[in-house]
Symmetry: C2
Subunit: 382 residues, 2 copies
């Protein structure tokens, strides 16, 4: 087999980011993903700048490897076609505001009677129930509500959003986990089921460590700049010409660091004896280490510390990350050939399997371009 999900049919009613990212992961893994879009406009991210030729780079990146058909679920004949496709699908994914699919007669109870083996997966901002269920939400709203923004940044600074759509992407990955777990259950029970994830719940789950600290102590976690809240030293240090991030995550690495900095005395300093002590005395620790790191350049430190087994890194921008030898050696930047936009570079799937290939090499579809092909293929069997 090529991808591990080869043969899996996914009927994809997703738009924006969280839903499309999930079905992108499924497509990369070999699933046959058919994106159902509104006639005329399609996924609104088709219009988000910047563009590769006429094509949105945003849309291209997260919709690679899918096919597109246009159906208007408000029109009876289109709804009938969609239902026939849902009868042939293994998985249906949607991320409309809760209630919308039911308005179109396309909620789980309507569709599962036709196909009880169907796994029907919903992603929404707030979830299918609860007081805010029917409100639309986007990543920024969720980063604000879940506490993400409250622990990101420097104390007292203006609000900081995580620089990428972490609430969308996190919910997408959880949704994918849920779909595949339901698929495993189907091998046992023979039956599909409904599953759902909200951006808010997924984000709270990803912050579990901040919540568990708060529950244990009653102290509200605060933003801590570049510092890890519980492990030290684990932060950015200013050097002569920039910054160096150092993460001494184990006791052994802490001791190696002391030796490397010619400060073996710190190993015997009770303030810095273990994880707990170093965290309590992190300001004292900074006072000891700041002058040392400032005395040399970032590249000097990078020549010295990694070979001694001490994890450290420069702060790379996106261009530097895209040219990083490790990133390139891992084939994380790949080139698609798009009929309209030409060669398009995208980020690859991070999954590597010994027996099944991961494939992020097909471009994203033109709006509605595969309608006949998909209907012929999926509906030809009976």
């Amino acid at each position: 087999m090529s991808g591990p999900l080869e043969g899996l049919r996914v009927l994809d009613f997703t738009w924006f980011l969280a839903g499309p990212y999930a079905t992108m992961v499924l497509a990369d893994l070999g699933a046959d993903v058919v994106k159902v879009e509104a006639p005329g406009t399609g996924d609104p991210t088709r219009k988000v700048a910047p563009f590769c030729g006429d094509l949105s780079s945003y849309f291209l990146s997260v919709n690679r490897g899918k096919r597109s058909i246009c159906l208007d679920l408000r029109r009876p004949e289109d709804r009938r076609a969609a239902l026939r496709l849902a009868e042939k699908a293994d998985v249906l994914v949607e991320n409309f505001t809760p209630g919308r699919m039911a308005e179109w007669g396309f909620d789980y109870s309507s569709v599962s009677t036709k196909n009880p083996r169907l796994i029907y997966a919903s992603c929404s901002g707030f979830g299918q129930d609860g007081p805010r269920s029917r409100e639309p939400a986007f990543d920024g709203i969720i980063q604000a509500l879940a506490g993400t923004m409250s622990i990101t940044g420097h104390p007292g600074s203006e609000p900081v959003r995580v620089g990428f759509s972490v609430a969308d992407v996190g919910a997408a990955l959880y949704l994918t986990v849920g779909i595949l777990a339901a698929l495993q259950a189907r091998h046992v029970t023979g039956m599909g089921q409904y599953l759902e994830v909200s951006l808010l719940d997924a984000q709270v789950s990803m912050l579990e460590n901040a919540f568990s600290r708060y529950f244990a102590t009653g102290e509200i976690p605060q933003p801590s700049g570049s510092r890890h809240p519980q492990v030290a030293p684990f932060q950015a240090f200013p050097t002569r010409d920039g910054y160096l991030v150092v993460s001494a995550g184990t006791q052994e690495q802490w001791e190696l660091l002391c030796d490397a900095l010619h400060r073996s005395d710190l190993k015997k300093d009770n303030r810095f004896a273990d994880f707990v002590a170093r965290q309590v005395h992190v300001s004292d620790l900074e006072k000891e280490l700041f002058p040392i790191f400032r005395a040399a350049s970032t590249s000097d430190w990078l020549q010295l510390l990694p070979k001694l087994g001490i994890p450290c890194a420069p702060i790379q921008n996106i261009a530097e990350a895209a040219a990083d030898p490790q990133v390139l050696a891992r084939n994380m930047i790949v080139e698609l050939e798009d009929p309209l936009a030409g060669k398009v570079r995208i980020v690859n799937s991070p999954l590597r399997f010994s027996q099944t290939a991961v494939n992020a090499s097909r471009s994203a579809p033109r709006l509605g371009s595969s309608k006949k092909e998909v209907l012929d293929e999926w509906l030809s069997e009976n």
Copy 2:
């Protein structure tokens, strides 16, 4: 069945965060997760503050629902016991620095000869190959290298780390996806396989949008405070007494917002006509909107805007998020009963299934507490 992964046996050689978070997700979904720990010390996070009684809240939170046995893979009799368990396992997960499992004779080629149906999943900082493969890494290192820190924060500010371990958690979710995809492939081929994810690759994948913008334009993405890099208005606005995050993610929401702010004229302003125009003129847009939002309090805005269909939110801290009515209605905060620590609050799984329960209700194990029980159960079959 109870959880969708009921009956799935996971032999868990993970420590710190990325590996344990992945096996936590599997345990929440009903898998039987047996954590193999080093005698005497166990997972180093057992010693990370703060504590619930004598138990690390960090360890408790991500190791709930697992059982623990102590085995020292350097000792032949322990290695034999581990190999016998691996013969009975469906999945083996480890996140040691690459090469370490092979030193112990426990790499995939050694184990798969005994159990070709085994899915063997590795998570590491840099991956199993490439120039930096053998280097240890932690979340902070990966946030620095992948570009995450370069796009998070305010322009010119000191470095900002995403306030939670997003590189660990993201890799954990991708690893879980990989394991479940390999499980699906096993239903087709009858064979297990090896799969791996690196923190660096997973983080780069989660930043796909920043990379695709860079590839499309050649412009290096910069930190943008609370602003979304491509959609506007989608940021925090200062109010009379705090901040309000507003995300007008669709054209309809933009128009509703203009009406709600009594600035219907902005709908006809060419600078703000669509996604692309508003992004190009985001500074002008801020000039128009800042004085309006400053004129009322955050709670005034929250009373007005959501009912008009405009996504907005206050910036909640972790205590506020833990008490949020939607978070509580969704049962996202649950209480474990731990024999030693008593009642412990943790964050629940965000996955909701119609037919299979998700269960985050068992506490984390005492070091080595289930050795006899696990050996009896898993090895009794032949």
